[in-house]
């Protein structure tokens, strides 16, 4: 049987291949997943990714994968998905010079988890950057969501680290959530291996 091709870093010039709008090459993916007319609660997730020195990463790329407002994935492995669903659930955002990124999407519904237990609404996050030899995987959950208390994945995370996975509502603007990604340090984000 063939063996896996190893992972390598995206390097500092990742935009050329993965977010090439500035290089006169047509981008396929965007940070905007949901057009205004789409059913669901429209949200904006804003965040910053920082390194062990607290500096923002100007050369990172964040990808998200999520279910629609009813908790269905646009994928054949989800038997409940609707063929007519226009929500593809995938977004890609390069960071700016300060390490900031955003996504405009809809809040996902809850989705099935192991042993028939429901998972709280969440968004899968993949992180690429110069200095990351392989993708990092984390999840965005939503602060204040009642289902977080019974989520089977959050249950695997030590209590004192769970808050690193919570997007927090912006007090000033409704529908806006803040999600920080800290690669190292005091409040280092929880990263997963699945």
């Amino acid at each position: 049987m063939p063996e896996r091709t190893p992972s390598q870093t995206v390097g500092p010039f990742l935009h050329l291949g993965l977010a090439p709008a500035d290089y006169n090459f047509r981008p396929l993916f965007a940070p905007v997943l949901a057009e205004p007319g789409l059913a669901g609660t429209h949200i904006r997730i804003e965040g910053r990714i920082s390194d062990g020195d607290g500096n923002g990463l100007p050369d990172a790329l964040i990808e998200i994968w999520q279910a629609d407002a009813q908790g269905r994935y646009a994928h054949p492995a989800d038997g409940r998905a609707l063929g007519s669903n226009s929500f593809r659930g995938f977004g890609r955002a390069p960071t700016d010079q300060a390490g900031e990124f955003f996504f405009a999407t809809i809040k996902p519904g809850s989705v099935p988890g192991p042993h028939g237990r429901l998972q709280a609404p969440h968004i899968n996050v993949g992180i690429f950057a110069r200095g990351l030899l392989k993708r990092l995987f984390t999840r965005i959950y939503f602060a204040g969501e009642a289902m977080n208390a019974t989520d089977p994945i959050l249950a695997l995370v030590p209590l004192e680290r769970r808050q690193t996975l919570l997007a927090t509502p912006d007090a000033q603007s409704s529908g806006v959530f803040r999600f920080e990604i800290r690669l190292q340090g005091q409040d280092e984000t929880v990263f997963f291996d699945a």
Partner: protein, 235 residues
Amino acid sequence: MDDTYSRDGTRADPPYLAADYRSTQTRAPSRPLIVIPQTLSEITGPIYGHADARPEEADLTRQHAGEPLGERILVRGRVLDEAGRPVPETLVEIWQCNAAGRYIHVADQHPAPLDPNFTGAGRCVTDADGVYEFTSIKPGAYPWRNHANAWRPAHIHFSLFGPSFLTRLVTQMYFPGDPLFAFDPIFNSVPDAKARARMVCQFDLDTTRPEWALGYTFDIVLRGPDATPQDPDHA
């Protein structure tokens, strides 16, 4: 819950912290990853939209008024999973520097010439047999500031999706016999020599097009199905 995808193949990957690759020191997580089951959120993934790639985007020598300088190459290969099955209709995105070792990217300060006829970005979708093909020019080596007199071996960046969130892969394809291999901390971040060899393409006379371009083959193997025997009490 049983795994859908294998977990042991990840042993081929580099660690997050590779001492000789300086940027990893402040970016590698310091805490261990938390192992979680593969739920519906992980065994699904972005597969729609890949067919949006256009045929002309697979030829990096035809994106401008003139032709780029450099050695014209074809890179052809199959995308497979660890069970040897082809991965059809999956998006392959690539990027690279020009023949002089310079990226068009705004952050590249290497004083080598830009080529007005070369962007260095391409994409295509694998066919029903998992086959992809790009036409490009051979990228040059270039210096970087990781350590004194540091040079990257010639490479093309590859990004792939496969059928789920867990099959996503970004890697680099290197060229055979590069004298810079021994000195490159990124190439050598992969601990196993056999695994490193899987990032090196092969020159192939059958892929080479007479009077036109040198041919290289590069098969890419994504994470595949879990091959662990079923627990009989669980079946």
